[in-house]
Symmetry: C2
Subunit: 420 residues, 2 copies
């Protein structure tokens, strides 16, 4: 088979380990030079592909590519830009194919969540219809851990480790001061619809009375009275109470507690600020001194406390994507398959993109305790292995050293410009 170029793009919210996946893609492609020519990357994700703004990763040294493994954020840029159906977004899809053809792209590797799986799948359909030979591989990535088919999503384990560590640490802090100072502490974490990150906070509580004491899941409508009752009982029992709350917590009418009215490009409401509302609720009822934190991007950028299992899996799905592509597979995604819990063993499997596209995996009800405020033993068994192992970046002068790539542009070949 002729040697053709590969195109890699990052999509949606970045993570602490999406660059580890990029590293897996590029290092693996460099080992298959007879099959893969250059690896290009879309600058700022799919927007860079549409506008023919491509990056030539062959201009990066092996050391720079290796450093991607420990660098957070998206090294080539990412974006929130959703392609709709093939008919609705026909101009976009045709443009993508035109760019692919101009740059002899034989492998398209799209690294994102369920929206991106949908886009990758549609591109594969169109390429097939037009007779353009293209291996379309989706690569899983999302801190939300909400992709179906895969046991878990690269990116999630590291956020999980960060939030569980933070809850444990603040638990020690608040416990020390509760007699005269803060009695209730609320940490707001990400997870718009699926409460996996909220659930992960719960892993820190290994014994009765340990932080966090209460979890508020987006899967369950928030009912203030049982919550306040639980806060009071916890404060009475332990002297303090720590709460982890999902940014996506909704009231009984399905309305986000933090609704700000702002929406992103996908039409999703832009959230933030449920923690201060929960803290105010508690303070107004009981007069307890409350503190709250909103971790926001800190949680998904915290490469310094990444899970080793997560960085290994992130790299592995990147490597597997290239291997699937050169085997001629298309419309598939490498996934994580759990082989056993004790010891935790995993392998890379494969799923069809059409089975992943536009679906969300919520925290199942049996992973949440009957009262709705914590995780069950079964949930803990699922989550525990995903945060295991430390894989710190190198430090210099007391700070982590992260790489900035040169990101050299590929000369344009098309005459036409494409407006985003």
């Amino acid at each position: 088979m002729a040697k053709r170029n590969a195109l890699y793009a990052q999509s949606g919210g970045v993570t602490a380990v999406i660059n580890a996946t990029a590293c897996g893609v590029i290092e693996t492609a460099r080992k298959h030079r007879s099959r893969i020519g250059k690896v290009y990357a879309g600058r700022d994700g799919i927007i860079g592909v549409l506008t023919e703004d491509l990056i030539d990763t062959s201009k990066e040294t092996p050391a720079a590519i290796r450093a991607l493994r420990h660098t957070p954020g998206g090294a080539f840029g990412s974006c929130r830009y959703k392609l709709k159906g093939l008919e609705e977004s026909r101009a976009q899809y045709e443009r993508l194919l035109a760019v692919f053809e101009a740059h002899d792209i034989g492998y398209f590797l799209y690294n994102g969540g369920n929206d991106s799986a949908d886009t990758t799948w549609k591109i594969s359909q169109l390429a097939e219809k037009l007779g353009y030979p293209l291996a379309c591989i989706g690569i899983p990535k999302t801190v939300d851990n909400d992709l179906v088919a895969t046991d878990n999503c690269p990116g999630f384990g590291s956020v999980a480790k960060y939030v569980a560590t933070s809850m444990r640490e603040t638990g020690y802090d608040v416990a020390s001061m509760a007699r005269t100072s803060t009695k209730v502490f609320v940490l707001e974490v990400m997870g718009r619809h699926a409460g996996w990150i909220t659930a992960a906070c719960g892993v820190a509580a290994e014994k009765e009375g340990e932080a966090p004491h209460i979890l508020l899941f987006p899967e369950l409508a928030f009912d203030p009275e049982p919550f306040l009752g639980r806060v009071e009982a916890v404060v009475k029992a332990y002297g303090f109470c720590t709460v982890a709350v999902s940014e996506g917590l909704r009231d009984q009418d399905g309305k986000f507690l933090s609704e700000s009215g702002v929406r992103d490009a996908f039409g999703h409401a832009q959230l933030g600020g449920v923690a201060p509302r929960i803290a105010a609720l508690v303070r107004n009822r009981f007069g307890y001194r409350c503190h709250w934190a909103v971790a926001d991007y800190l949680q998904r950028a915290a490469r310094h406390i990444a899970s080793k299992v997560d960085t290994q899996q992130a790299y592995a799905v990147g490597k597997a994507a290239v291997e699937l592509a050169i085997k001629g597979r298309s419309a598939v995604m490498p996934i994580i398959v759990r082989k056993s819990n004790r010891p935790y063993r995993w392998a890379i499997g494969t799923a069809e993109l059409k089975d992943i596209a536009n679906r969300e995996k919520m925290v199942p009800r049996e992973f949440i305790t009957d009262d709705g405020f914590h995780i069950t033993a079964r949930c803990r068994q699922y989550l525990a292995p995903l945060i295991v192992g430390e894989d710190p970046p190198p430090f210099k002068n007391g700070l982590p050293v992260y790489v900035k790539l040169r990101n050299v542009s590929v000369p344009k070949k098309l005459q036409s410009e494409f407006k985003i």
Copy 2:
């Protein structure tokens, strides 16, 4: 000299390394058994002393005491309880002396900020006046780094490392997404009056254009127009802008931007929530998508990313306090003295408590750039060594392992109870 007991208490907001100081105190005292009998600790700080609720640290194993070195929070409990002048709070001071006498306390070691230095100094005066032999040693601790006399305060270096790391990491995240998503990110950090933690964020920006781009210090009245102008210029130049703001930011009238009306036991306003206000200001002016985070207790509890210099200094001041006490010194505090910058070398010195009590060290104007939005080279030279070195706690199952002490009570000897 006769063998007498020591009493150690933690005061005010806890830190990631105050227990390293406790470790230094107890391990050192255990090496001087001919001079020091038991080391007692006040349960929940000075409140435990007033109520004769003491902890017998001799009941803890060497391994448990050693583990204090890597455990955040206050292992014996801390409190916000301010003693006023000797006349005004006469009953409290007399009670303290009664408890000391009942338990044959010859050494009082009080671990806190400038309020605690004041209390320790007053106790030393009273003891001297009453002819009660007592070595009163203050031990520095505060994330705010606002004690005078000492070059820096144990507790600060670790918060500094955490916030600088977080700003660097979120900078990589926001840069990746800025084209279509968040353009401006605001991180709120602690520091009510002194902007040392805000300044520490600035250490992450080693080159032009790196995060954080703008620092908002509590030392400088906030003026929206120059700030908004700077945000716009940074976004135009780099595509995104990251801001670190002190919780204590005030407007031109001296009012906290985040004023919530709640006050703590020291009469200080309880703050929180200036980041969302700054973000709203930017969004309303430019329409930029903004995100914000409030690190709150996460920053001062983050033992997992403690500065090694900080943990060493925290231990050293605890050790030095015991050594000063058995030398018969009183009304003093062991301090950090900077011997040189390159290489960074430090030693333990001694300062008089009366020179430290109730004074605050602000960030000097020459440490802030002329425009008021960043740190100068001189400030960077001061801050840089304080965050150097990693000293992670042990991890098990993916999470840091912290110690919970047994905290066995000392039998009471006084007949009278004392109401707080």
